[in-house]
């Protein structure tokens, strides 16, 4: 992209109305072009002026403490507790929400425990292509995958699929775990882990006939989570996965 092309797109970049592909190209250009970044700053000044001119109005005085109290409640939630929006409250475009569900499940199932030890290049390329095609269709940020690796003495295998919704849009993020454990029965705890120490609890796996699956739908940002661990009720680790971009 040339500077002229990027500057032509800057207002839409600023107002978040570019499609994902174009947005990524604009951001890529901006990272390496100080002059275009400076132009963006000038336009941001315009947005700030617009906001002061057209929608600045003092809220009721009591609202401040109310908002701070709400944030305190948010902060007091124990780390690792499920996101408050785990229940799939359908917001925005319901059909896309359902389409995302169906598509993710279909693709995840099609992998059939596929991101396994036998990672062949052609298979991976096909998988990546499938996920990219889904992203192009559904929007969203990215798909990420993980292969469950059994802990010592365990035989748990399976697949983790995360779908990161688009930041700033009314878009759900998803997590799906499918596990196969011939020697295990009962419940198992599933947690997503982030490098900053945060964790997010997913609904438990319930193994029946050696198989189990669980899924999570949330408005919470899943992008910080790059690992998943499955533990037995006694706390022992059954399996873990590193989650990487598809």
């Amino acid at each position: 992209m040339t500077c002229e092309e990027v500057r032509d797109l800057l207002p839409e970049h600023l107002l978040r109305s570019l499609d994902d592909t174009t947005e990524a190209r604009v951001r890529g250009h901006l990272r390496g072009c100080a002059e275009c970044r400076a132009e963006r700053v000038r336009l941001e000044d315009g947005v700030a002026t617009l906001s002061h001119a057209t929608h600045e109005q003092e809220p009721p005085g009591e609202l401040r403490q109310h908002v701070l109290d709400v944030l305190s409640e948010e902060w007091e939630e124990p780390r690792g507790s499920p996101a408050p929006t785990v229940a799939p409250a359908v917001r925005g475009s319901a059909w896309r929400w359902l389409a995302a569900a169906a598509a993710v499940v279909l693709v995840a199932v099609s992998l059939s425990w596929g991101v396994s030890q036998s990672r062949r290049a052609t298979r991976l390329q096909a998988d990546a292509g499938s996920y990219q095609a889904l992203l192009d269709t559904l929007g969203g940020k990215e798909f990420r995958l993980g292969a469950l690796q059994p802990a010592d003495g365990q035989a748990v295998k399976g697949t983790v699929v995360l779908y990161d919704g688009e930041p700033g849009k009314d878009w759900n993020s998803w997590g799906i775990v499918m596990a196969n454990a011939p020697d295990y029965s009962g419940e198992a705890r599933v947690r997503l882990l982030a490098s900053n120490g945060d964790s997010l609890e997913m609904p438990s796996l319930r193994f029946t006939n050696g198989e189990a699956s669980t899924w999570l739908v949330t408005h919470q940002d899943l992008t910080p989570y790059d690992r998943l661990v499955i533990t037995a009720p006694d706390g022992s680790t059954l399996a873990a996965a590193a989650i990487v971009e598809a």
Partner: protein, 193 residues
């Protein structure tokens, strides 16, 4: 030209780092800096005091939940906060449409009496006054295109279709309007020196 920017990227990064760390003072600073514009946006776009208050609450919760994503390299904190609020307001409007509730039924926005003392608000009022003067310098065509894009969440293609103009013209009007606001705001600031 006097710099009209009111924020500092390093200070903003530090502020967001503190906010991510659940620092109530940081939350208070963010509130004091942005709540009036978020609330005003709610009044303008959603036309209802209670919904505007909900917008403020929802915006701050969303800012907290997505705070780790804030990257000053991708834009200023001020823009990020404002467009997060705008996005939530647009979502709210879309839900109303989905619920088949006509926007016309909402009636005019209620008049809200801002109670706080004038001393606290003097700087803000001055800034708003200067910003409104800057807005008045836009041509009707520039203002219309900018408001459709900003408040309506319209793409330039949609703005062009609604205004009956080529897409390139819509882009130019929005771009020129934003730059003109900046220039006029700076002039107003210089007059006050």
């Amino acid at each position: 030209m006097r710099n009209v920017r009111t924020d500092d990227p390093e200070a903003d990064t530090a502020l967001m780092t503190a906010f991510v760390g659940r620092d109530e003072r940081a939350a208070g600073v963010l509130y004091d800096r942005f709540a009036s514009r978020i609330y005003g946006l709610g009044i303008v776009m959603l036309g209802n005091d209670q919904t505007a208050q909900d917008l403020v609450q929802d915006t701050f919760v969303k800012l907290w939940r997505t705070a780790a994503r804030f990257d000053p390299e991708r834009g200023r904190l001020e823009t990020w906060v404002l467009l997060t609020a705008r996005s939530l307001a647009i979502d709210n409007l879309r839900r109303r449409v989905l619920e088949s509730r006509s926007l016309q039924e909402l009636g005019p926005p209620p008049v809200h009496d801002p109670a706080p003392g004038p001393d606290d608000l003097a700087a803000t009022a001055d800034l708003s006054s200067r910003a409104r003067k800057a807005m008045s310098t836009l041509s009707p065509e520039q203002r219309s295109a900018l408001e459709l894009a900003y408040f309506g969440g319209r793409t330039t293609a949609e703005v062009a279709a609604l205004e009956g103009i080529p897409q390139g013209t819509a882009k130019t009007r929005i771009h020129a309007a934003l730059l003109k606001l900046r220039v006029e705001m700076a002039k107003e600031a210089d007059h006050d020196v």
